[in-house]
């Protein structure tokens, strides 16, 4: 194989330096846009840019070809500044067909670059997209720098020597587009060439075709007169360290594995496949050499119950799902909290209610996580704020679960789960050691073992089967404090309900206080979960405009950080942007009697920075 530099010579065209770029790749779900996006992200991260991504795909595996419903998109922002979102307005949009064009063009900045596969604008393509006229001819694309590239024809020509059929040749189109985009932004092709080798190593003709398509795309940029120059985005100034790219579900999985190791436990996952949580099951099942045991259960209920069983046995037990599955797990979680066993429940939220919008993001399970079980059944709730933050969230959740002997709910969402960002790899030695102990066995001495005897944190001992002399029975019937025997005593019930709540309230002393970014008065924007990046960027923008706006992000929602009320009271106005109709706002109003104002979007899409800026200004 020739080296990449020979095949991909540096451009001879002038190069313009820009601080950051937002690109969206849009095509049919079979067009390989997610792959293209992932490659662009990785190579940008490797070149030292800060990156943030937003993949957006349909729920159907193969939605009808060429239709608007079948459009799959991948947005990435890469920048020489520290960034927190995948970007708002697009600098460039690549469209593989008319459906992709009409559904995405609204997000392209005026005079932004629009690259289209002009071969896929035939009348049959227009019909599939339910268009009368070609958007390339009816003025739709006039405000943009539109570049018509006959990608299908050029790709077929480029791969002809491999002898692949037209059908297979057409599958290489995304690599042609990739070559062009890589050329335009001066991206390194080396990681992608390595990827092609690894992925198609056993199909040499396919590997060769993809390389040829990539090169043809690159060469097209170099020779076409449509592009007078390329763009350069230099490396971002990130804190020193070794970095890698992580996606949310991956970081959660690694956080869980790390937490298990740090506590000297082996991990058990009981899970049932569901979008967008399944990747946690996939990732964890790859790491059996850490002692990870994954159980793909027959249903969501079996998944949570198996986790409770594993927790009873002394493992680090986890169950993962999304909203519909968490709804099914309610009774099992109730038992988990009654048994006062440590475990982790992960809800990767998606659009609801019911089946809702499986592949779209939303924050509408907060109240379910808080209150969605029968009886008085509080659980600690922590929400990850970004893909990389998932790692730390998993570790913290396990610390609280084991310290207070309680199942902890982690909220993520589809946006975080599938989004990627650079992660500074921690030095294992700096990670917290998680102390977990089990009472030792004993010979019978006439005294009764008390499974519900509490320590200063109100936590009960985690006595596990196999331990001599500590035999005890647990169950869902109300327990007598201390003995753990079944009790119908009215006073005991009130005491136990209050104790279980108090235990979680106590966790406030363990978690970090709420931090504020910005002035001590004026307006406070309060965010939680995956809207962190958009809120932070919006507030920064407003601060740069000289406005008196501060930002506080809540990772722990139950309990609230100990200083929450004190922080809130400093401000004239509390604004709570959420991708739901006001669930955290309801909790804030309830808890503090503060008349918080909501910014609420329920479209299955994350906030854009500009809409938040406008809404915060007018709130």
């Amino acid at each position: 194989m020739t080296t990449s530099t020979e095949q991909f010579p540096p451009t001879s065209k002038p190069s313009e330096s820009v601080s950051g770029v937002t690109v969206r790749l849009a095509g049919d779900s079979g067009d390989g846009m997610q792959l293209l996006g992932t490659q662009l992200t990785n190579t940008s991260a490797l070149s030292g840019n800060d990156v943030a991504t937003f993949p957006d795909f349909p729920a159907e595996i193969r939605a009808p070809r060429g239709t608007r419903a079948g459009v799959s998109g991948f947005q990435v922002q890469f920048s020489s500044d520290e960034i927190f979102t995948p970007g708002d307005g697009l600098d460039a949009l690549v469209c593989m067909n008319p459906a992709a064009l009409v559904t995405n063009i609204g997000d392209l900045k005026k005079s932004g670059i629009l690259i289209v596969n002009s071969d896929s604008f035939e009348s049959k393509d227009l019909k599939l997209a339910k268009l009368e006229n070609s958007p390339l001819e009816d003025g739709t694309t006039d405000p943009y720098r539109t570049i018509h590239v006959p990608m299908t024809k050029l790709t077929r020509g480029a791969v002809e020597s491999t002898g692949l059929s037209t059908k297979f040749a057409d599958r290489c189109k995304n690599f042609f587009a990739m070559g062009l985009v890589f050329w335009l932004y001066g991206r390194d092709v080396e990681p992608t060439l390595r990827f092609i080798n690894a992925k198609f190593g056993n199909k040499p003709e396919v590997a060769e075709a993809n390389r040829l398509a990539l090169k043809a795309g690159w060469n097209y940029g170099e020779t076409t007169e449509d592009f007078a120059s390329t763009y350069q985005v230099s490396a971002a100034e990130l804190p020193a360290g070794v970095y890698r790219n992580v996606m949310g579900n991956q970081a959660l999985s690694w956080g869980l594995i790390s937490a298990a190791k740090l506590s000297g436990k082996e991990l058990f996952l009981g899970s049932y496949p569901i979008t967008p949580a399944s990747d946690i099951l996939h990732e964890l099942s790859k790491h059996k050499n850490f002692g990870v045991r994954t159980f793909q259960a027959e249903d969501e209920i079996a998944a949570v119950c198996s986790a409770v069983g594993a927790a009873f046995g002394g493992s680090m037990a986890v169950t993962t799902s999304s909203g519909p599955g968490i709804a099914l797990k309610g009774e099992g979680l109730g038992l988990g909290l009654m048994l006062e066993l440590p475990m982790i429940v992960i809800d990767v939220q998606r659009g609801g209610p019911s089946t809702g919008l499986p592949t779209k993001t939303e924050q509408s399970d907060l109240l379910m996580a808080m209150y969605g079980r029968n009886g008085e059944s509080p659980l600690p709730v922590v929400a990850a704020q970004s893909p990389a933050d998932c790692f730390r969230t998993a570790i913290e959740a396990w610390q609280v679960a084991t310290k207070f002997m309680v199942p902890v709910v982690i909220l993520s969402d589809g946006y975080i789960a599938n989004g990627a960002e650079p992660w500074r790899i921690p030095d294992v030695g700096t990670l917290p050691k998680i102390e977990v102990s089990h009472p030792a066995g004993r010979e019978p001495d006439g005294t009764q073992f008390l499974p519900y005897e509490r320590n200063e944190d109100l936590a009960r001992p985690w006595a596990i089967p196999g331990t001599e002399g500590l035999m005890h029975r647990v169950g869902g019937l109300e327990k007598e404090d201390g003995t753990g025997n079944v009790s119908y005593d009215p006073d005991n019930h009130q005491h136990m309900v209050e104790t279980r709540a108090k235990k979680i309230a106590n966790a406030a002393s363990f978690i970090d206080p709420l931090e504020v970014d910005g002035p001590e008065s004026g307006t406070l924007v309060v965010s939680w979960g995956g809207t962190y990046g958009a809120c932070r960027t919006a507030v920064k923008t407003l601060q740069e405009k000289g406005q008196n706006v501060a930002h506080a992000h809540m990772r722990w929602i139950h309990p609230f950080p100990a200083n929450t009320e004190e922080v809130f009271r400093r401000y004239d106005k509390i604004v709570v942007p959420e991708l739901n109709s006001g669930q955290l706002r309801l909790m804030i109003r309830n808890e503090f009697l503060i008349d918080a104002v909501g910014i609420n979007k329920i479209k299955g899409k994350p906030f854009s920075v500009s809409e938040l800026v406008d809404e915060i200004e007018s709130a």
Binding site: G241, Y243, C305, V308, E331, M471
Partner: protein, 337 residues
Amino acid sequence: MNAELPVLKAKDFESDQDVRWCPGCGDYSILAQMKKVLAEIGARQESTVFISGIGCSSRFPYYMNTYGMHSIHGRAPAFATGLKTTRPDLDVWVITGDGDALSIGGNHLMHVIRRNLDINIVLFNNSIYGLTKGQYSPTSKVGAVTKSTPRGSIDHPLNPLQVALAAEGTFVARSVDSSIKHLMATLKRASQHRGTSFVEVYQNCNVFNDGAWDYAKAKATKDQTTVVLEHGKPLVFDGGTKGIRLNGFMPEVVEIGGDVSESDLLVHDEKATEPHLANILSRMRHPQFPEPIGVFRAIERTTYNDGVNEQVADARGEQGEGDLAKMYTSGDTWTVA
């Protein structure tokens, strides 16, 4: 701790909790035989765990001086799966009833059996909902008049053994609460089997469905109404006067003597690889047939817990013990100075 473990008696498996079943309930006998069996097989209190769902039978764990979990309705097999997979060193028993196992928990029962998790399931079949005070259950007969079926049940009942066999059960057995010796022997066999042991026990609910199994329990009739299965032996009952013969795929009752000798009878084979014979036997119902009691099927198959733990051991053997730093840096990384 002493190197030599003390010999435990049945009494040692009794917890300090008062037993709260109705006087005369069949559950008492099952509890008593279980304690005796545990003592006999040399079970340890600390390494035995009883997991139950919801229902009268599911109070069972509270009465045992072992580890126990009284879980939620129908889900005991799922809790057991998490526990046994991570703690294969424990002896796990699931105690369930006909409503718990076959109605609300039907899904879990089927899946735990097909996975062949190494646990013992004892299903107390009283053909009624006792704890909720007398509604018909999935094993109630068509026409059963109960609180929720004043005009008689129209649901066709499930046959628990058929469910277990359809789920590829590796150990499938039936016994009767009052047949003390037989019940003990059956529980003992169940405890020795590696894989899911499924034991249906005919249990009398003397409050809401009294006498449902009288034909199989009464001294005067049980010899004619049940046939005891023994591996390798012909199916003989009624004091050796009658037997079961196969006519094509259909069993038939024959009188022994005349042209019929024992050698014409169906010989029980619990180890048959295919479950056809067990299926035929499990479909023999009173009053057309004597109902077989004993072990219908006992075959070997890898257990779920062994499978899971072997994969973990293999992964460790091939990749070495998991190393966090190695995992974090797998794939592309870059350094910011």
